[in-house]
């Protein structure tokens, strides 16, 4: 136990002995990781926005402006009995106007209107979410009496979703490539470490050290460097998001609405740190394994 402890302190001492070089490798790892991880955070934010906007798909039914209350009642009954419709929400024209006033910050403009330009509307929640079924239902509803327009609200959301999937693939490819880079960086730092400790390794082998014993401090070193690189990436991302949020705040105020980017969730943060630690460990393992296999007795 004390021996393992002294190995770890040895690793730390070595790490801080070459302060600048150590810091530079950590910085490089941090930047390499922060690119895909940062893109991931932005995607998560966009995903949240899309979910908030589309939620479950809806069809908005706008009635003719001359439709009367009885027409609305009739239509409501018809809709409620429809087998493909889960539930229906009626939005009277006055309520719709109030909502717009509240949420868009255009209250001044709307207040100046002489009369309400909005029609009565229904929000229809379909039972099935597939794009085809929704399209069919929309066409059917558009033909109902006194209906001016039937609009499938989530059509654009599907397109955005497809775009997000594309973005996710980009992040995945980027993350894979940069993970390889991280392994390569650790591989190289450990290789240099091994060169400076050639004598120690040779002597240790000659007096009965197992490969595991020789490997251990380097694995600690690799994992530690990976972890610190991960923390660096986390700091870069968090700081960038805070800066962006600061700018976004100013922007939001102009539009009189609230929006801000979410930081990395605790779970994602932990994943990032563990992943970078693992990659560092792997790079170190490969590096030591290569050295050891070159020095076997024949």
């Amino acid at each position: 136990m004390r021996h393992a402890l002294s190995q770890i302190t040895g690793v730390l001492r070595r790490m801080f002995a070459s302060r600048l070089a150590g810091f530079l490798s950590i910085l490089v790892i941090g930047i390499a990781l922060s690119l895909p991880a940062g893109m991931y955070v932005m995607l998560q934010n966009a995903q949240g926005l899309v979910a908030q906007l589309s939620g479950t798909p809806q069809i908005s039914l706008f009635m003719h402006k001359d439709a009367k209350e009885e027409d609305a009642d009739k239509l409501r009954k018809l809709l409620e009995q429809h087998p493909d419709i889960d539930r229906v929400e009626f939005v009277p024209r006055d309520q719709a106007l109030e909502q717009i006033k509240k949420s868009t910050g255009l209250s001044d403009v709307i207040g100046s209107l002489q009369q309400n330009p909005l029609p009565d509307a229904f929000i229809v929640y379909p039972r099935h979410g597939e794009a085809q079924a929704l399209d069919k239902l929309r066409n059917e509803l558009a033909k109902l009496p006194k209906v001016e327009l039937a609009q499938l609200d989530s059509a654009w959301a599907y397109k955005l979703q497809a775009l997000l999937n594309f973005g996710r693939m980009v992040v995945f490819i980027l993350a894979s490539l940069l993970s390889l880079a991280l392994i390569a960086i650790t591989f190289n730092t450990i290789r240099l470490q091994i060169l400076t400790q050639r004598d120690e390794i040779e002597v240790a082998r000659l007096i009965g050290a197992t490969n595991g014993f020789i490997r251990r401090p380097f694995l600690y070193f690799g994992a530690m460097q990976g972890l610190l690189g991960g923390i660096m990436a986390w700091l870069i991302i968090s700081l960038s998001l805070l800066l962006l949020n600061w700018q976004l705040d100013a922007l939001s105020q102009l539009y009189a609405s609230q929006s801000s980017l979410h930081l990395l969730s605790p779970g994602d943060s932990l994943t990032l740190l563990l992943f970078s630690m693992y990659l560092g460990w792997l790079g170190a393992w490969l590096s030591v394994a290569r050295h050891l296999s070159q020095n076997e007795t024949h």
């Binding site: 004598d199 007096i207 009965g208 014993f213 024949h298």
Partner: protein, 225 residues
């Protein structure tokens, strides 16, 4: 304890270091290997510790055929050996105490017990008052004694010493030999290579003389018939 059966060792490049060497060393024996430089003394010792492997024949140590030992079994063989290297192989990035501690660290020895053992080993070779020094600061004789301390801290049953008195003057050499004799008295098997004839004069132990890789005197020690 150690048995060579028709051992041949040829290095890559064709140099034949050992030719058909056969001998037997009993438990507790103290044996010298002599010969001019390049006669194969170091190679012989390296074969015992599996630092080199024979091309032909077998090297048996503690009933184990060392020549065909699996790579991952070699560390455990070496832990039973104390090796004093010709070029010392001391680590200059740590003090005397930590140099001797290394074998115990490798074996994963209990920390408190290893502290006692390191001090005992340093005491044995008369370096207890230098434990905080860097090996660089030691004289040649002291470095040699530090090597011995590191080799014995594990309490091995076999001690291999490659030219332990190589660059030392006579007085130091006799000091070192006295230390080896004290190990011999407590039953350690010793194999010491040397080209220093003066050491051999005042000893009646068995001598294996090598010439161009061939064993000259096929002598049998007191433990064998």
């Amino acid at each position: 304890m150690i048995r060579f059966n028709h051992v041949n060792k040829r290095y890559p490049g064709g140099y034949q270091a050992l030719k058909n060497v056969t001998f037997d060393i009993a438990k507790g024996e103290m044996v010298f290997v002599t010969g001019h430089s390049g006669a194969g003394k170091s190679t012989l010792l390296k074969l015992i510790a599996a630092i080199e492997r024979p091309n032909l024949g077998s090297v048996i140590v503690n009933n184990q055929n060392v020549g065909v030992l699996k790579e991952r079994a070699i560390p455990y063989l070496r832990r039973n050996l104390g090796i004093i290297f010709q070029d010392h192989k001391l680590l200059f990035d740590r003090n005397v105490y930590d140099n001797v501690m290394l074998p115990l660290q490798i074996c994963g020895f209990d920390y408190r017990e290893s502290h006692k053992r390191v001090r005992a080993a340093l005491d044995k070779v008369g370096l207890l008052n230098r434990e905080k020094s860097n090996p660089v600061a030691l004289s040649g004789g002291e470095q040699q004694r530090l090597c011995i301390a590191r080799a014995i801290v594990n309490r091995p049953t076999i001690l291999l010493a490659d030219e332990p008195t190589g660059n030392l003057d006579t007085e130091y050499a006799h000091e070192i030999m006295a230390i080896f004799k004290s190990f011999h008295q407590v039953g350690v098997t010793l194999l010491i290579s040397t080209h220093d004839e003066s050491i051999l004069q005042d000893t009646d132990e068995r001598v294996l003389a090598l010439k161009h890789g061939e064993l000259q005197t096929a002598s049998t020690g007191p433990g064998n018939t």
